[in-house]
C-alpha cells in the first residue's frame, strides 16, 4: 500500500513516529513549537508532546546547538532544527568542535546521538545568506554523518534512521523539495544510511548526484535518450557514510562520470568524489570526470542571476555531452 504526500509531510511523519516510539527524542529550534515550523512540519507537535519535548528557542544557534550536544551526551536524542543551513556558520563550534569530536576525544566514552535538520539549497530567491549548499563543509569534519535525501520516501526513511543512529547526523533538506508530492509506502519503514540508489540504469555515463539535483539529472537523462545517450543516475542519498561500492560498480560499467551538486564548485564535496574516482578508478575512466556545480560566487537574489547559480538540466546535458565528446 502506498500514499501520496509532500516531502515536508514525510519529514513530519518521521519526526512524529520517532517521538512516539522513543521518549528520549525531543525537538529544539526556532519557531518549531507554537508556529509548528516555517514549512508546517511540526504543526501540532507542541500540543501532543508538550513543552519539554518541543522547544522554541531564541535566535541563539551556538547556544542551543551546544545544549543539544550536552543533552545528547546525557543519552537524550535531540533533533535540532536550523531554519537555514547557512546558520550552521553561527553554530560551527558546537557542531564541528564538540558534537563531531567528543566521542573520539574521550576515547569512546560517549555517543552524541543528535540530528541537525537544516533546509538547504538555492532557487527560493533568498539571496546570499539563505541559499547555500554546504555539503563540503559538513562532510569535512570526521565524526558527523551527512544525509541528503531527494525523495519523500528517502526523507522519511532516512530521517528515522538518522534519529536512531548513535552518531551526530546532519540531515539536509532541500527547500524546493518540501512541497513536492510523491508516493511513499504506508506505515513505518526505515532506509539505512550509506546506501546509494540507482534511480535509472544506463550504460554510457554515470551521473552521481544527490538532493534536488537528482530530479534535474533524471530530466537530463530523459532528454539525452533522444541523443542516443543511455545515462545511469546514481543518487548517493548520504554523503557520509559514502556508498563507494555503488560508485565503483557504476563507474566500472559506464566508464564516464559527471558529478552534480549545488555547492560552490571550489572546494566542493563533488570535487572530493571526483578526486577519489581519479585516484582509485583511473583505469576505469574513458574521460576526465566533470563536476557540474554552483558558481564560485555569493548566491545572487535576482531570479535571472540566481538561476544561473545552480546546475539546471541543460547544464547537466551539456556536461554529459562534453564528457562523451558528443
Amino acid at each position: 500500500m502506498s500514499k501520496t504526500i509532500t516531502i515536508s509531510k514525510a519529514i513530519g511523519e518521521a519526526l512524529h513516529e520517532e517521538m512516539v516510539r522513543d521518549e528520549n527524542v525531543f525537538l529544539l529550534g526556532e519557531d518549531l513549537a507554537v508556529m509548528g515550523n516555517v514549512y508546517a512540519i511540526t504543526k501540532g507537535f507542541l500540543e501532543e508532546f508538550g513543552p519539554n519535548r518541543v522547544i522554541d528557542t531564541p535566535i541563539s544557534e551556538e547556544g542551543f546547538v551546544g545544549m543539544a550536544v550536552g543533552a545528547a551526551i546525557r543519552g537524550l536524542r535531540p533533533v535540532v532544527e536550523l531554519m537555514y543551513d547557512d546558520f550552521a556558520l553561527e553554530c560551527a563550534d558546537p557542531l564541528f568542535n564538540q558534537a563531531a569530536k567528543i566521542r573520539y576525544m574521550t576515547g569512546g566514552q560517549c555517543n552524541v546521538p543528535m540530528v541537525l535538520r537544516a533546509p538547504m539549497g538555492a532557487g527560493r530567491r533568498n539571496a546570499g545568506q539563505h541559499s547555500q549548499s554546504l555539503e563540503n563543509f559538513f562532510c569535512h569534519f570526521p565524526g558527523l554523518k551527512v544525509v541528503t535525501p531527494c525523495s519523500a520516501r528517502d526523507a522519511k526513511g532516512m530521517l528515522k534512521s538518522a534519529i536512531r543512529d548513535d552518531d551526530p547526523v546532519v540531515f539536509l533538506e532541500h527547500k524546493l523539495l518540501y512541497a513536492r508530492k510523491e508516493e511513499i509506502p504506508e506505515g513505518e519503514f526505515t532506509i539505512p544510511l550509506g546506501q546509494a540508489e540507482i534511480k535509472r540504469e544506463g550504460k554510457d555515463i554515470t551521473i552521481i548526484t544527490w538532493s534536488r539535483e537528482v530530479n534535474f539529472a533524471m530530466e537530463s537523462a530523459t532528454a539525452l535518450e533522444n541523443d542516443g545517450i543511455d545515462v545511469e543516475v546514481l543518487d548517493l542519498r548520504s554523503l557520509v557514510p559514502l556508498d563507494w561500492e555503488a560508485i565503483v560498480r557504476s563507474v566500472s560499467k559506464t566508464h564516464n562520470v559527471v558529478i552534480v551538486s549545488e555547492e560552490v564548485k571550489r572546494g566542493s564535496y563533488a570535487g572530493e568524489i571526483s578526486a577519489q574516482i581519479s585516484e582509485d578508478l583511473f583505469d576505469e575512466l574513458d574521460a576526465p570526470v566533470e563536476r557540474v556545480c554552483g558558481l564560485n560566487i555569493c548566491s545572487p537574489f535576482s531570479p535571472i542571476l540566481e538561476d544561473r547559480n545552480f546546475p539546471n538540466p541543460e547544464d547537466i546535458r551539456n556536461a554529459v555531452k562534453r564528457v562523451l565528446n558528443k
Binding site: 541563539s60 551556538e62 547556544g63 551546544g66 545544549m67 551526551i73 563550534d93 576525544m105 576515547g107 548513535d166
Partner: protein
C-alpha cells in the same frame, strides 16, 4: 579571634584535596619540563581552594563540565590520578585512552565528568544541555559548568544563560576568575569589576567569593546548588583566584607585574588553611604527612603513566563513529 565553625575532619578534607591537586600539578609540570609528556598543560596551582570548596558541595549524582585548566576539577571530583596522569602522557591506560590529553579528561560513566574542553566557553552550552536533560528526565541532579574569566566574554555565555534562566534549568556556573586570559588582564578587556554580576541582566542570582578560602567557596556553592536543585533555575558563583603559573606550563608570564604573585603567595589557600588547622589543634606533623602522602601518590601516578603502553597504532581510527566507523573514516 573568630571561632572555627568547621571541624578538624571537615577542614582536613578540604586540605587533603587541595594538597593533592597541587601535588598532581607540580608532578605534571616536572614531567613536562623533563620532556616526559608533550603538548600543552595548563596548571591549577593557586586555584586549589576554590576547586576543593566547590566540589565538596557537588553531590555524586550531579554532573559537571571542565576546561583546558581542568586537572584540579578532576582531582577534586575524585578522579584517579593514575588515569589522569596517563592521559597527560598520551597512554592507552589514560581516561581517554590517550586520545584527548590534558585538555580533554573526562569520566562520564563513573564521575559524571562530562569532559574538559579545549574551546574556551564551550562547556557553557554543554553544561546547560546536561541540565536540560535532567529537567526533561525529571531527575534531581544539577549540572555545574566550570570555566574561567576568559569564557565570560564568549557569546555563548549570554546565549546560554538567557535560555537556562528562562527555562529554569538546574544549572550552576562556577567561575574561577584568575584575572588573566593568557596574557591579557581582565580589566583591559572587561568593563565590570566582577564577572558573575552579569547574571543580573538575566535575572539570575549570583555570589562572589574569595577563592583562596575553601569554606567560603563551599558555602556559596551549597546555596547555589540548592537553588538550582529546587527548580529555581541557574545560579552563578565567581571565585577570585590566582594563577601561579603562566597560561601554560613553560609560559614565564612576563606580562604580569611582580605584585601579582606577591599578593597570591600572601593569600595562598593551602598556607591559610594550614594555619586554620593548626589553630584548632592540628600538628605540623599531621599536615606534613598529608603532603608526604600526596607526593607519594603522585609519584606513583607518574610511574604508572610512564610505564603504561602507548595506544596501539591501529587504534587511530577507533572511536570516531559508533556505527559504520570503518566506512566513515575510509572515505
Amino acid at each position: 579571634m573568630t571561632t572555627e565553625k568547621y571541624s578538624k575532619v571537615q577542614l582536613l578534607g578540604f586540605y587533603n584535596t587541595m594538597v593533592r591537586i597541587r601535588a598532581f600539578e607540580e608532578k605534571a609540570a616536572e614531567c613536562f619540563i623533563k620532556g616526559m609528556l608533550a603538548g600543552n598543560i595548563h596548571l591549577s596551582i593557586g586555584q586549589e581552594a576554590a576547586e576543593a570548596g566547590a566540589f565538596t558541595a557537588i553531590q555524586p549524582k550531579d554532573y559537571f563540565t571542565s576546561t583546558h585548566r581542568g586537572h584540579g576539577h578532576a582531582i577534586a571530583r575524585g578522579a584517579d590520578p593514575n588515569l589522569a596522569m596517563a592521559e597527560l602522557f598520551g597512554k592507552k591506560t589514560g581516561y581517554c585512552k590517550g586520545k584527548g590529553g590534558s585538555m580533554h579528561i573526562a569520566d562520564i560513566k563513573n564521575l559524571n565528568h562530562l569532559g574538559a574542553n579545549g574551546i574556551v566557553g564551550a562547556g557553557q552550552a554543554i553544561s546547560a544541555g546536561s541540565a536540560m536533560a535532567s529537567k526533561i528526565n525529571g531527575d534531581d541532579s544539577v549540572t555545574v559548568g566550570c570555566f574561567g574569566d576568559g569564557a565570560t566574554n564568549q557569546g555563548s555565555f549570554h546565549e546560554v544563560l538567557n535560555m537556562a534562566a528562562t527555562w529554569k534549568l538546574p544549572l550552576v556556573w562556577f567561575i574561577e576568575n584568575n584575572a588573566y586570559g593568557v596574557s591579557t588582564h581582565i580589566t583591559k578587556i572587561t568593563n565590570t569589576q566582577d564577572l558573575a554580576s552579569r547574571a543580573i541582566a538575566y535575572d539570575v542570582p549570583y555570589s562572589i567569593v574569595d577563592g583562596t578560602n575553601p569554606t567560603d567557596v563551599f558555602e556559596a556553592m551549597e546555596i547555589a546548588m540548592e537553588h538550582a536543585r529546587s527548580g529555581k533555575g541557574p545560579y552563578l558563583v565567581e571565585a577570585k583566584v590566582f594563577r601561579y603559573q603562566g597560561h601554560y606550563c613553560g609560559d614565564p608570564a612576563n606580562y604580569r607585574p611582580k605584585e601579582y604573585m606577591e599578593t597570591a603567595l600572601e593569600n595562598d589557600g593551602i598556607k591559610k588553611l594550614g594555619t586554620r588547622l593548626v589553630n584548632i589543634g592540628t600538628t605540623d606533623d599531621e599536615l606534613k604527612s598529608i603532603m608526604q602522602a600526596a607526593a607519594e601518590e603522585m609519584n606513583a601516578a607518574v610511574m604508572f603513566a610512564d610505564q603504561s603502553p602507548y595506544p596501539d597504532i591501529n587504534e587511530v581510527f577507533e572511536d570516531m563513529y559508533v556505527t559504520d566507523n570503518e566506512r566513515c573514516v575510509v572515505r
